[in-house]
Symmetry: C2
Subunit: 432 residues, 2 copies
Amino acid sequence: LESGAFIQVRRMLNSLPAPDVAHVIESSPPKTRAVIWRLIDIEREGEILPYLNDEIESQFLRNMDSEELLTITEGLEADDVADILQQLPDRVIREVLQLMDKQDRQRVEHVLSYPEDTAGGMMNTDAITVRAKTPLEVVLRYLRRHEELPEMTDNLIVVNRRDEYIGQLPLRKVLVSDPNITVREIMVTDVDAIPASMDDGEVATLFERNDWVSAPVIDEQGKLIGRITIDDVVDVIREDADHSLMSLAGLDEDEDTFAPVLQTAPRRAMWLGINLLTAFLASSVINMFEGTIDKVVALAILMPIVASMGGIAGTQTLTVVIRGMALGQVGSNNSGWLINKEFLVGIINGLCWSMIVAVAVTLWFDDTLIGMIIAGAMVINLVTAGLAGAVIPIALRRLNIDPALAGGVVLTTVTDVVGFMSFLGLATFFYM
Amino acid sequence: LESGAFIQVRRMLNSLPAPDVAHVIESSPPKTRAVIWRLIDIEREGEILPYLNDEIESQFLRNMDSEELLTITEGLEADDVADILQQLPDRVIREVLQLMDKQDRQRVEHVLSYPEDTAGGMMNTDAITVRAKTPLEVVLRYLRRHEELPEMTDNLIVVNRRDEYIGQLPLRKVLVSDPNITVREIMVTDVDAIPASMDDGEVATLFERNDWVSAPVIDEQGKLIGRITIDDVVDVIREDADHSLMSLAGLDEDEDTFAPVLQTAPRRAMWLGINLLTAFLASSVINMFEGTIDKVVALAILMPIVASMGGIAGTQTLTVVIRGMALGQVGSNNSGWLINKEFLVGIINGLCWSMIVAVAVTLWFDDTLIGMIIAGAMVINLVTAGLAGAVIPIALRRLNIDPALAGGVVLTTVTDVVGFMSFLGLATFFYM
């Protein structure tokens, strides 16, 4: 590229909105990314970073010194600064914090003191507070002293003189009310503030259920410490939904689609290794029936059908249950009903498809016995699959193991082993 | 249950917020649902319906007559009414519309005239408009004439006298500005309005990228016809994310976790049937090598390993690509790079794991040749899996077939067929 073209690209990049630049970077292969990043003005880098996938973000951050880090965090919201710092080694975090002015440092340290995946880690410290006894007229005058209200300010927050949360004052009520009444007369007090320790998934559920744009956050003493806005909640919703999808394939939800080959290969290798162990387990089951297969070679031809149908049926149940768990629908009060349901679905579909398979196989090999054997094995395996698909994630969650990540492996191990065992076992019984 | 308990449950249900009641219903088995629904006051049913899963919603709706439908739609926003009506037969829609008063009917008809999954179908008609030349003081007086501003009103919308969209007036600027200036001086004009025909997924991307709370919607003539709010966008984000997860298992994203057995079984059966066909295809490949298996029974024991490792590797690639597509990262400009990358990852992991498998199998069967054969087959199948996992979704999308739904079946067919063919083919070549 000649320098003229570079200047044009740079101009274009720096005129695009930050989220669009982030999207261009995420959709580019690694080498292009490095070039693009170098073309972006350092003052804009901080604005762009929060929109990037965590993995790419930390790559860029790793190459910066504390001075550069200070420059890019200037003007960012406290939660975004905290997100950036959390990706760095402790030593660098301390250096950057020391370079900040006192007010900024305190704000960021406050957010940093809560884990990233809690309400405290998601919050901003830009809430505008008012007191209940203030007349609206004074509130309006107070607002006019601001140069601009923080983005996503739909409510002012009402606190008492100990800074404890009392209620919210919706701007949409302020604007339609008589300026002479006080905050108390129109404030909303039936919405609870969010405790800083609440898990981010729960925060997202609250926002989704109640259609909030922002919500106040309090510490254990009930003191107002910040507020959470819907844009950060949307990110959590997106990540949680991606988590189930990616984990079922043994992938991290932050997986970068365009990561370099040498970074992707070792990560995927781990998962392949785990699955290799389960595949060997299945093979050793087949090995137990070597003699039978040696005598009836049709068994070798047909055995993948039984295992694969079980795998499919089990995966369907597993996916539904994991999604239900992610949405908070599946709990101890209804998991019994759910397991029972999937058991019955397994029986119905097992009976239905095993009959069709029995006819097809009987015609193919001109042997009624093998048709009956595969039908029996399929009923056993589809019922097992339905049960396993429901029981495994519920059991894993009780053991505090991520059901989306571990569920798939455990399930296919069960359906493979039971599939081969039932088919070859029945065959051994009837043929040998 | 005795009637005393019923009254208590009813009181509790009717005091819970609508989204919580919806959650209780969704988390309950079918019979409990019917009981809960009967306990809810009819005036509240309309409020609860929009929070329910589409499937459950249409079940409840099917049992209502037009009078009841009119009652429950009263007081709802136009887009929620449209969503409810869209689930009903045309005859019932017409009946309900005729029962409405003229203004409501026009509003709902307007939204109904756009497909449900477009900006037009998502919008509400409750935007507050102002003219550019108006002084802020007059705007404030005009607002005060409202009893309450619509929820999620963060901007007033500036239109000209032909009702064409010009810009937005953020309330957070109105509140800090001198009342004597005009709308024109502080309005924001660099944000484009959303065309009514825009796909809902694109709308969601715009909201996510730009951190909007609401956005104006225009028709083809540039006339303002409504606005979209973030709460409806969050629903789209949730549904789109669920779509990939559920489709990969052949399920609908609206699948109801607690649907009755007799409703779930036939739905799942279809997918099992499709997979049965691909399983038979794989079996017929094995059948081609009957003679070889008959001679070397170890092949029957080991062949599932090759197929299953290919399936795992392919699913990982497929999942990453499908997620990348859903996020709009994968396009024609970078799909070549991506296919190439997954090909290389396949080679690396193929070589790495095939060596380990070669050693393990050689030791197990005390036969170097079979170790070499399985290693060769695994390299072939893992490379094929990487390529197929990337090419299949990209090709399916070009053909306008949903890659998440069809991708999994096509992929496992490829990895099964190639896995069995390469392993048994190589074995036939060396042993026969």
